[in-house]
């Protein structure tokens, strides 16, 4: 989809747009770089794909937002309504790395852990497999492009797309069911993902 088409879809609102359900996807962006946080936020907002962005500067803060505390199982009722549909985290961060955060999110007792996408400037195959091995949905190379961001919606679970208008719900779930089984190519350095 060209930027112009995406822009039209956004302006149309929830009617007849590519993104059925008209529901905002809540993205938690985790990055210690203020520049990267702002750029990713800009990308998400400008993509026309209706993202609501919450940006934090550390894994620790991310855990707070998610209602998880390191080393402890989530007991709060918030685990079933996490307020976050998808996590987009930098890999290299001080204290708690993106890998640590990924691990913590995937280990929590809820049956439906939140999708986690790793961002990194390094195209290291070993790092990528380590992340995927513990359940990262994808690994994106920085700097992120519009294409990378548009794909994020594919990783959001059907139940997270519970819309305000009842009629659109079925369509959203059917779309998700179609996509959920497909293979995802890893995002490689410098290649535009078509």
């Amino acid at each position: 989809m060209s930027m112009e088409e995406v822009e039209e879809a956004r302006e149309e609102g929830s009617h007849g747009s590519m993104f059925e359900g008209g529901v905002e996807v809540r993205v938690l962006v985790v990055d210690d770089s203020p520049v990267d946080r702002r750029v990713v936020e800009g990308l998400l907002k400008r993509s026309g794909a209706m993202f609501q962005v919450i940006a934090v500067d550390s894994g620790k803060r991310a855990m707070e937002v998610l209602g998880l505390t390191e080393g402890k199982e989530a007991e709060q009722p918030t685990v079933d309504d996490p307020k976050i549909d998808i996590i987009l985290t930098d890999y290299c961060m001080p204290e708690m790395t993106g890998y640590d955060l990924l691990k913590a999110v995937k280990e929590q007792s809820s049956q439906k852990p939140i999708p986690v996408i790793i961002m990194s400037s390094e195209n290291e195959p070993q790092r990528i497999s380590r992340c995927r091995a513990i359940g990262a949905e994808d690994y994106l190379l920085k700097p992120l492009q519009t294409n990378d961001v548009l794909r994020l919606r594919d990783y959001v679970r059907p139940t997270a797309l519970s819309p305000k208008t009842g009629t659109k719900r079925k369509i959203a779930i059917e779309m998700m069911a179609e996509n959920s089984g497909s293979e995802r190519r890893p995002c490689l350095a410098g290649l535009a993902v078509a």
């Binding site: 203020p34 520049v35 750029v39």
Partner: protein, 180 residues
Amino acid sequence: MALHVSSAPPISAFHHLLCFFFHDTYPEMEYASSLQRQLASMKKNLFDQGYLDEQFYQLEELQDESSPNFVEEVVTLFFRDSSRLVANIDQALQKYPQDFRRLDNIMHQLKGSASSIGAAKMKNECTSFREFCNKENREGCLRSFQKVKKEHAVLKQKLENYFQLLRQDGPVDKATRSGN
């Protein structure tokens, strides 16, 4: 006696009229378009001389009515952050023995931010520095760091000039869009 009557329309007169309008003989339009020419030329130089790469175009693509100063905002964030990181590296280089791991770590952050705004020359100097770090070559690090600081200062000045001019241009007509 043959009469040669030209059937062609009076193109030349009309053409002159068009030139009159399109060559901006009105003073305000002349100023605006001269400003835009300056901006375009400045931007072209920044790219031709390798200071910026296509990532900068990406930032411009993200600028719109809801974020009308996005590019300048991100660039400002960058220089605030990078100045801090440069100062940290300066300090770290004074220490004995050299903590190359820490130096590399800070430089990794600087490189990442530079990359995010399309600061190509800076990014390359950061890469050089990290290579010296990996070899634990202190002299190399010191020399390379001088280059990093120089590129940082030069880019800062150039972008400050660019945005100052951009502000003068106002929201009238953004002829400086990317891809041109």
